[in-house]
Symmetry: C2
């Protein structure tokens, strides 16, 4: 089967007309009618087999994940997803694989009315690059550089679950030291396999939050980007971190804390907001049925040292390099 | 060196401010201010090592080529290049390689004031995906589906050179049967290494040409896309094909013809235009110092058979399957 037949069979299925698309798949370019009073938010993520996912990954989960990582970047700007393109490099043609992959992809895309507008398929080591496009009012967009002194720091959902889910797949000693229920394992694997981009939250935070990003590399590593771009320090409290019960049951409190601080792949949002917004943020959490947990505060940074994120454990600074926090 | 330092060192160098970019590299997304009365043309191309380029390729040429293939798609729509993003998967960190690659990339980008707005760097088998963004008036954009009965068919520049250039790199028997000057070999290799996207031509053809595409898979294969999308037949004349003297000198007339009909990677434009535009097209060729050669005509297609492109050689239909045209 050649490239054109392949594209047609698996990737033309989602052809809901979209007013903003003048011309899509099948020409040299897609032609889009961009929003008039909004900016276009553009993001790109590549997932490489063996690096970002296990070669034996369920293709449905892979299709979901590669779009989810991009939609999560849009969510972190408060942008409304509109379109995406897909560059798919495949080692061979496997109809079952392509069917499941495209189902995972379009299942998530249709949740957000996000339309595939084009791309490229090539032969080579399995790798996928998606660029996603959203719209947002530029003056309200949630950047990394606008955190303010005294801002509360929040995270959405529970964190560290995906790191434990990955360990459940790859670590032979997972659950060696305790009895772990099947439900807990399933919960953690699903949190790794099918991350939920927090698009609705991002949109609701426009005009409320000062800075935001999505947690893909680990809470402390990612929060450090807000620190550096905003030129402020951050302090977060271990006791406040939202840990899922299944997570603590499966790996114990200590390891769950390590996962929450340094585990990637959760795709929850971390954001900062003025203290005056606390009630509004509680209301948003209620509306979305999504926990939004206050975990720390942005602080002034003296001239000289690099702005940084500190972790307090029962009031004492946690030295992350010791105590097995070796991910940093 | 981590991802952020790597990006900063090699890819922040081109920081000419662009009024349309509100926020670029370093946040979750780039924020673009799209053109108000124009459409946004979007294209994506992936190049995989060993598939689209030789692993030992000069990294400067690779940087040029990967952007050129995308700009060529924009040119084929008549779009004006504005921005691009870059997803770069590298097996290891090689400072010299990255320096040369980024120079090839930015050298071409700056020719067209096309700005890097973001991307992703990952570890894995060498592969590069670029998405490029341009602006064009939607009603005038050059598509594949708007060719008309009686349209002239043109190609820009000379064609088949890149296929001969690739052979000069890879085919041990290249030049075994004839004396080939060093100049000819250099000309052909350069045509393969450094394809020139025909951006100025594409823009000048707006309102003049009816249909267009760029030749990446070979003239006949690509022209077939115009036939199928426009539901018309095409006939082209071997005698008319523009062959470079160096090309004929190096491989002989017969092989040059094969290369011109079926060799890819030229990134010249193929377009159709009403006969009434002949003088205008001559003027464009003069203005751009770029040959634009009339090679055939679009014809009605009876219902039933697939629309197709026929090749006439001295008035007789060339059966491409015979006579060594084995590329089809």
């Amino acid at each position: 089967m050649n490239e054109f037949a392949l594209i047609k069979q698996y990737f033309h299925q989602q052809s809901t007309p979209d007013k903003g698309v003048i011309l899509d798949k099948g020409d040299d370019c897609a032609l889009l009618s961009p929003p008039i009073h909004q900016s276009l938010a553009v993001t790109t993520d590549t997932l490489v087999s063996g690096r970002h996912f296990l070669p034996e990954i369920d293709p449905f989960a892979l299709g979901h994940r590669v779009l989810a990582t991009n939609l999560s970047d849009l969510a972190a700007m408060g942008a409304n997803p509109k379109w995406f393109n897909l560059a798919l490099t495949l080692p061979n043609f496997d109809a079952d694989w392509l069917k499941a992959f495209s189902q995972g992809l379009f299942n998530l895309a249709s949740q957000f009315q996000c339309h595939l507008i084009g791309g490229d398929t090539t032969k080579g080591p399995l790798s996928i690059t998606i660029s996603a496009f959203g719209e947002v009012e530029a003056s309200k967009a949630l950047t990394r550089c606008a955190a303010q002194v005294g801002d509360d720091i929040y995270v959405s959902g529970t964190i560290g679950d995906a790191a434990a889910g990955l360990a459940a797949y790859t670590d032979k000693n997972f659950a060696a030291q305790r009895i772990v229920s099947e439900q807990s394992v399933m919960f953690l694997k699903q949190r790794f396999d099918l991350p939920q981009p927090r698009v609705s939250l991002g949109k609701k935070l426009l005009g409320i939050a000062n800075a935001a990003l999505d947690i893909s590399d680990g809470l402390v590593a990612d929060l450090n980007h807000i620190c550096q771009r905003s030129e402020l320090n951050a302090v977060i409290h271990c006791e406040s971190l939202p840990l899922a019960q299944h997570h603590k049951d499966a790996v114990g409190f200590e390891q769950a804390l390590v996962n929450a601080l340094s585990g990637g792949d959760d795709y929850e949002l971390c954001f900062t907001a003025p203290k005056a917004q606390r009630q509004t943020i509680k209301n948003i959490a209620n509306d979305l049925h999504l926990p939004l947990t206050l975990i720390g505060e942005m602080l002034e940074c003296a001239e000289g040292p690099q702005p940084t994120c500190s972790v307090l454990n029962k009031g004492r600074v946690q030295n992350l390099a010791k105590h097995g926090f070796q991910h940093f």
